[in-house]
């Protein structure tokens, strides 16, 4: 007999929060003690449930007799049957109580910033196998393309892709894709780490002997830039004739609103219910100058994500993604600095960087750059759906990352949300959508696009606030103080990339980036 709780977990219980400041030490000790008492209660309830299940089995066994000797149904056996059914119900109920008790214990630890996350032994073994497998496959592919002509391999891949696209091969159904997304989500980080290892080991000089995700991305970045001409980045004010969002001229005020505004900058809009698309051009980023009641000024930069897979006439593309992951000078970071300079930000005025996807990586790249911090005082960083674990954040600067397992984007740094760097100032809120008891979360978990959308990240933030998480409340409160003010001036810029067709450019450590004039690391 299997006794399990029937309901799915509360969405709040699917949150994973790491980093940030815990509560006062004396309160933390009291919370830890209370949570351990609840653990005891849950263990007792589970044992009670087990005892009831055994009792039910014994009652059922007592009714059984081999067919030739079976007596007709008696009053006693009917009473046993009824008793057994009631005992089974009780066992089920006690198992549910044990789960509730575990949930309470986890929740109070999480809100106090005391919860520690760990993978089970089975998950670790499977993760290691995935990482090793993907690494070996990448290395073998590398050997294959070296030992044979690369052309046929590329052509075969392209033909297979085209056949799939034009329906010559059976396309997987939406349900299959959703199932694959949910099943692959827990191991994306290990697969990426393995792939990066294979790529980096295959080209040790290009990777700078870094076998991590950064080294792998550095190899790809180097290869991509071999085929691309030199580019320069310009930042131009959005023409006055272009429609402005309704929020222009008001301060963001909160982290949630700043994130929603960042998503508004996409030409197709944010996808958030009740927020119409303002219709801004591609590659728009926004700079808000916030005046506070004490006479001080702060700046908020809103940076959207990737808007095109291949190099177009703007830098919000996959090449910038690779450059950023490789910790190389990237066109978007250059564009942010140019926009801040054009808006008139002074070095002593704090700057809050808010980014989605590629924009979040750019925000963390700037936050970890000593050059940027010499030019601007960093006030805070907020990222949503960005792989940022390979970047370091300066001490004393509040940083908030919002991620989920099923978007498959934030794990491109080779780490899960709970493996992100966790300091007193740097908080990551992750979530496993597929584990949620709420139907909308489970539906979202089957679509990478919806899981990566801003609506999902805003719900994650809302759940963390609703749970009363002390680390999240602290870091959000510090950033909100800079986002809110008496009045604001919003400026919108488009980043434009111009290619110079003089010849290919090869970036190497020590060179100056042609676009941003920063030294390549």
């Amino acid at each position: 007999m299997s006794i399990t709780a029937g309901r799915g977990p509360d969405p709040i219980d699917t949150l994973a929060i790491v980093g940030g400041r815990s509560i006062a030490r004396v309160d933390a000790q009291a919370v830890a003690l209370a949570a351990s008492r609840l653990d005891d209660a849950a263990a007792s309830l589970r044992a009670a449930s087990y005892r009831c299940a055994v009792a039910a089995n014994l009652l059922e066994d007592a009714m059984w007799a081999p067919a030739p000797f079976a007596a007709p149904v008696s009053t006693g056996s009917a009473a046993r049957r009824r008793a057994a059914a009631r005992v089974v119900d009780t066992a089920q109920r006690l198992a549910e109580r044990a789960d509730t008790c575990d949930g309470l214990s986890t929740r109070i630890r999480r809100v106090a910033g005391l919860y520690t996350y760990s993978e089970s032994a089975a998950e670790r073994v499977l993760g290691a196998l995935v990482a090793a497998g993907s690494g070996v496959v990448t290395l073998e592919t590398k050997v294959l393309t070296r030992s044979t002509a690369t052309g046929p391999v590329v052509l075969a891949g392209a033909a297979a892709g085209a056949a799939l696209a034009y329906g010559m091969l059976p396309r997987p159904s939406a349900d299959d894709v959703a199932r694959l997304t949910r099943d692959a989500a827990p191991f994306t980080d290990e697969a990426i780490a393995g792939l990066a290892f294979g790529v980096a080991v295959g080209s040790p000089l290009r990777s700078g002997f870094d076998t991590g995700v950064t080294g792998g991305a550095r190899v790809l970045s180097s290869i991509v830039h071999q085929f691309l001409p030199v580019s320069t980045v310009q930042v131009l004010p959005v023409p006055d004739a272009t429609a402005r969002p309704s929020w222009a001229g008001t301060p963001s005020g909160t982290v949630a609103e700043a994130l929603a505004r960042t998503a508004d900058l996409y030409p197709w809009g944010s996808g958030i219910l009740g927020r119409p698309a303002p219709g801004l051009p591609e590659a728009t980023l926004a700079v808000e100058q916030v005046e506070h009641d004490d006479g001080t000024t702060s700046w908020t930069v809103l940076i959207p994500g990737t808007q095109s897979p291949i190099p177009p006439d703007h830098p919000f593309d996959a090449v910038t993604d690779i450059d950023l992951m490789a910790h190389e000078a990237a066109d978007v970071t250059a564009a942010v600095e140019l926009a801040l300079a054009k808006a008139g930000a002074r070095p002593d005025e704090p700057v809050v960087l808010v980014g989605h996807s590629l924009g979040g990586i750019a925000a963390m790249a700037l936050a970890s750059s000593g050059d940027f911090r010499r030019r601007h005082r960093l006030g805070g960083v907020v990222t949503a759906g960005s792989p940022t674990a390979t970047f370091t954040a300066p001490r004393g600067v509040p940083v908030l990352h919002l991620e989920n397992d099923e978007e498959l984007v934030s794990q491109l740094d080779g780490r899960t949300s709970t493996e992100n760097p966790a300091t007193r100032d740097r908080v990551t809120v992750g979530r496993t959508l597929a584990a949620s008891g709420a139907a909308p979360d489970r539906e979202t978990s089957g679509s990478v696009i919806r899981a990566h959308g801003m609506s999902t990240h805003l719900r994650t933030l809302e759940l963390a606030r609703e749970a009363g998480s002390a680390p999240v409340a602290t870091v959000v409160g510090r950033i909100d103080a800079l986002l809110d003010g008496e009045r604001a001036d919003s400026r919108f810029f488009t980043a434009a990339r111009t290619f110079e067709v003089d010849g290919p450019v090869v970036l190497a450590p020590g060179d100056l980036s042609p676009s941003s004039a920063r030294t390549v690391r």
Binding site: V31, A35, S44, S49, L59, A470
Partner: protein, 83 residues
């Protein structure tokens, strides 16, 4: 006429395999343990909105397991008669 349940049989450990009613008795004792642990867990001195919410949830939870204990107490008698 059915014999009344034996209190001695329900509470005295047997040298043989325990009967169904003895398992239910043990479950009742474990439920008492859980109630005691939950009572101790409710004595949390932390003052915050999150702690208030926690205390509220725990009060509800304790009421539910108290009701479970009453139900299990009655069930123990039913099982003792049936087994």
């Amino acid at each position: 006429m059915r014999a009344p349940p034996s209190v001695r049989r329900m509470t005295t450990p047997s040298l043989g395999f325990p009967d169904a009613d003895q398992h239910v008795t043990e479950a009742l004792h474990l439920l008492d343990d859980a109630a005691a642990a939950a009572r101790l867990a409710s004595a949390l001195g932390w003052e915050s909105p999150a702690a208030d919410a926690y205390r509220g949830e725990l009060t509800e939870f304790r009421a539910r397991i108290a009701a479970d204990a009453d139900a299990l107490h009655e069930l123990r008698l039913v099982v003792a008669v049936a087994s």
